[in-house]
């Protein structure tokens, strides 16, 4: 080896194809703390760190065999004192003296190695951060998907709900029709004329009425208001209706009717305090021959009787509402009337939105108005005071012209 190569500012080795060192220049020997020619004849593994021996077999050997050269391969050497020396190696396979040999240049790179280690460290940190970011993105996407699924679920539920609501409304409308069908038709003959107005709140009504001709000259009129409104109240009205219809038609006395209805309510809720409802009611028994009205008022707003001379009488309540207390004795009262008298029965849904005196005044002002006109006037008054409040209660009134 000439001097220039021997002391070149880089390591230089020549080895055979099996990795046996043929020559090692002085520069490398000094770097590796070996003296003289101790290394030639030995395998390159002698100066490679253990990992580098593996790497050499895995990469250097196949590459030099196939590509005839190796460029910029990083390897770690071990000095005779066991210290590590990182080098960059370039190798070339060539034929010399009829033998295939491999020339290698080795550049120590301690400082660069430190720098690269730092770079690798930074790269690893960046990769971890990237992985975490990707993970976060995936988690977020999962979350978004879950939200979307929940949204879809809500939409489905909402649709089901809507359908349920529509069915329910249809059912309620049907029930309303059934309830209205149970109401009696207006009566109009030589002795009296009866007309009524009935309007449920947005749902079903807790009000119910009925008027019946008991005999040729006897009539029974009943008006009930079950506390509350809606499905539960309306069902109670229906059960009461079927009872009073039979009782009134049979000509049972007012006291007895009230007692039976009261007992019925107590019976209904005997074992079910949660469902308890009470009910106000007024029953009028009109005898057109005697021109008398017998009435029982159980907690109901007073009925108004207007004589032909315009004087008004209130048929006021004398007992508590039905279903309120057990063992009540219902007492009837009687009034006489003259031809041309007029009666108004109503539930509180009619009077609550109006001034207390409004209905008596209205009746007073239009003594000669027909029932139909009077009914129109009352409805007009109600419409004028229409509000969300009034919409929320059932309204019912009955007008009677006594002839």
């Amino acid at each position: 080896m000439d001097d220039q190569l021997n002391f070149a500012p880089c390591g230089f080795i020549t080895m055979d194809e099996d990795g046996n060192l043929i020559s090692v220049n002085e520069t490398l020997l000094i770097l590796l703390d070996y003296s003289g020619e101790k290394l030639s004849g030995k395998h390159i593994n002698e100066i490679l760190s253990v990992p580098a021996r593996l790497f050499f077999q895995l990469y250097f050997c196949p590459l030099i065999k196939k590509e005839e050269k190796v460029e910029e391969m990083y390897l770690s050497l071990t000095t005779s004192k066991g210290e590590e020396l990182p080098v960059l190696i370039n190798a070339l396979r060539r034929n010399r003296n009829n033998a295939s040999v491999i020339d290698c240049v080795l550049i120590p790179m301690r400082k660069r190695d430190e720098y690269e280690n730092e770079l690798i460290q930074a790269k690893k940190m960046a990769e971890i951060a990237l992985l975490e970011k990707d993970k976060a993105v995936i988690e977020m996407e999962d979350l978004l998907q879950k939200i979307e699924e929940q949204r879809q679920e809500l939409i489905t539920l909402n649709r089901e709900n809507q359908l349920y609501k529509e069915n329910m409304e249809k059912e309620l409308q049907l029930a309303k029709n059934i309830q209205e069908t149970s109401l009696t038709e207006p009566i109009s003959n030589e002795e009296l004329q009866i007309d009524a107005y009935y309007k449920a709140s947005s749902e079903l009504s807790g009000d119910i009425y009925g008027f019946y001709q008991i005999s040729r000259t006897q009539y029974g009129i009943i008006l009930l208001d079950v506390m509350g409104h809606g499905i539960s109240s309306s069902m109670i009205t229906m059960s009461l209706q079927s009872l009073f219809q039979r009782l009134i038609s049979r000509g049972v006395t007012g006291e007895r009717i009230m007692k039976e209805l009261d007992a019925h309510l107590h019976e209904l809720f005997r074992n079910n305090a949660d469902a308890w409802h009470y009910c106000t009611a007024i029953y009028l028994f009109i005898d057109t021959k005697k021109q008398t009205i017998e009435y029982v008022n159980a907690g109901h707003p007073p009925a108004l009787l207007q004589a032909p001379d315009g004087i008004q009488y209130e048929l006021i309540s004398t007992t508590p509402p039905l279903g309120a207390f057990e063992g009540i004795t219902f007492v009837k009262n009687s009034v006489e009337y003259s031809s041309g008298g007029r009666l108004l029965l109503y539930t509180d849904g009619v009077t609550d939105p109006l001034d207390v005196q409004h209905l008596p005044d209205l009746l007073m002002k239009h003594p000669s108005a027909s029932l139909k006109e009077l009914k129109g006037s009352i409805l007009q008054s109600l419409e004028e005071t229409e509000s969300s409040y009034t919409e929320n209660d059932d309204k019912c009134f009955i007008l009677v012209d006594l002839k």
Binding site: Y59, K65, K66, D113, E116, E127, D134
Partner: protein, 279 residues
């Protein structure tokens, strides 16, 4: 999925008996060029790259699947199935031999013989019974060396494997890659290879095998070669004059000769077996 494209499968040769060459760790199917060519006259020669290596389809790489050697063994089975191969002679270098062995455990009926060059079932020392050759730190040092040798172009590839949605898939990069591939894939393959322990699998191998053991192989020592032979039923052990770990490249003639000799004997045995004689 097109397995032939995925694994860059090349079928050559004029014979009918299939000879499937499985590369070892690190490089692609080109390592077999010289050896495989010599069998083209009499065999159907099949070369392939594992997913992640050589010119395989990197998009098919799955970090989960290829975190163990079984994933690579599935590549071997996939190639056999795609080509409808039977009675396959599998020639595997280094970890390629173990991958072939694992494939034969999965579907022994596919293989007629297993030729393993420098196999090792476990590279880690497990004292006192077993000397795989390496301590954990030394193998980790190898991973670090690999990392250092990828500096400069690592970023370009790393992004693909990590499935970073911001960087579109690798451009159709079909240039020769021989011993280089995505550093992340290479690292995972190295971990799967060098930290594997398949010692318990050896006794279950039913396919007759040939173990070719190099002299002075730092990766798979003579001791390890003996271990494989002693624990593998129906195995034949031949020590080569070749040194190093890549006899198929450094000493192709000897490699070809030993394989041919074995196959000649093995075929004779196979014929005997077929006629019902005892071997």
């Amino acid at each position: 999925m097109d397995i032939l494209a995925r694994n860059n499968v090349k079928v050559k040769g004029r014979g009918t008996v299939p000879m499937l060459f499985a590369p070892g760790f690190g490089c692609d199917q080109n390592v077999w060029n010289t050896v495989a060519e010599s069998f083209e006259d009499n065999y159907k020669v099949i070369l392939f790259d594992y997913v992640g290596a050589g010119n395989s389809d990197l998009a098919a790489y799955s970090p989960d699947k290829y975190s163990t050697l079984e994933g690579y063994a599935q590549d071997v089975l996939d190639v056999c199935e795609a080509l409808k191969l039977e009675n396959v002679i599998l020639v595997g270098h280094s970890v390629g031999g173990m991958i072939g062995a694992l494939a034969s455990l999965e579907k022994p009926e596919l293989f007629s013989s297993l030729i393993m060059l420098g196999p090792s079932p476990c590279y880690l020392n497990d004292p006192p019974e077993y000397a795989g050759g390496y301590e954990k730190e030394e193998l980790t040092g190898l991973l670090d060396l690999m990392e250092k040798n990828y500096i400069g172009w690592a970023n370009m590839f790393a992004a693909t494997v990590m499935g970073n949605p911001q960087s579109p898939e690798l451009s159709a990069d079909l240039e020769e890659r021989f011993c280089s591939t995505d550093p992340v894939i290479a690292r995972q393959f190295a971990q799967a290879t060098f930290f594997a322990d398949n010692r318990k699998d050896l006794p279950n191998i039913t396919v007759p095998s040939l173990i070719l053991q190099c002299t002075d192989d730092v990766i798979a020592s003579m001791e390890v070669g003996h271990f494989v032979h002693e624990n593998t039923p129906h195995s034949t052990f031949r020590v080569m004059e070749a040194t190093g770990h890549c006899p198929h490249m450094s000493h192709p003639e000897e490699t070809i000769r030993l394989i041919s000799e074995y196959l000649a004997g093995d075929m004779a045995n196979f014929e005997k077996k077929k006629t019902g004689d005892r071997v």
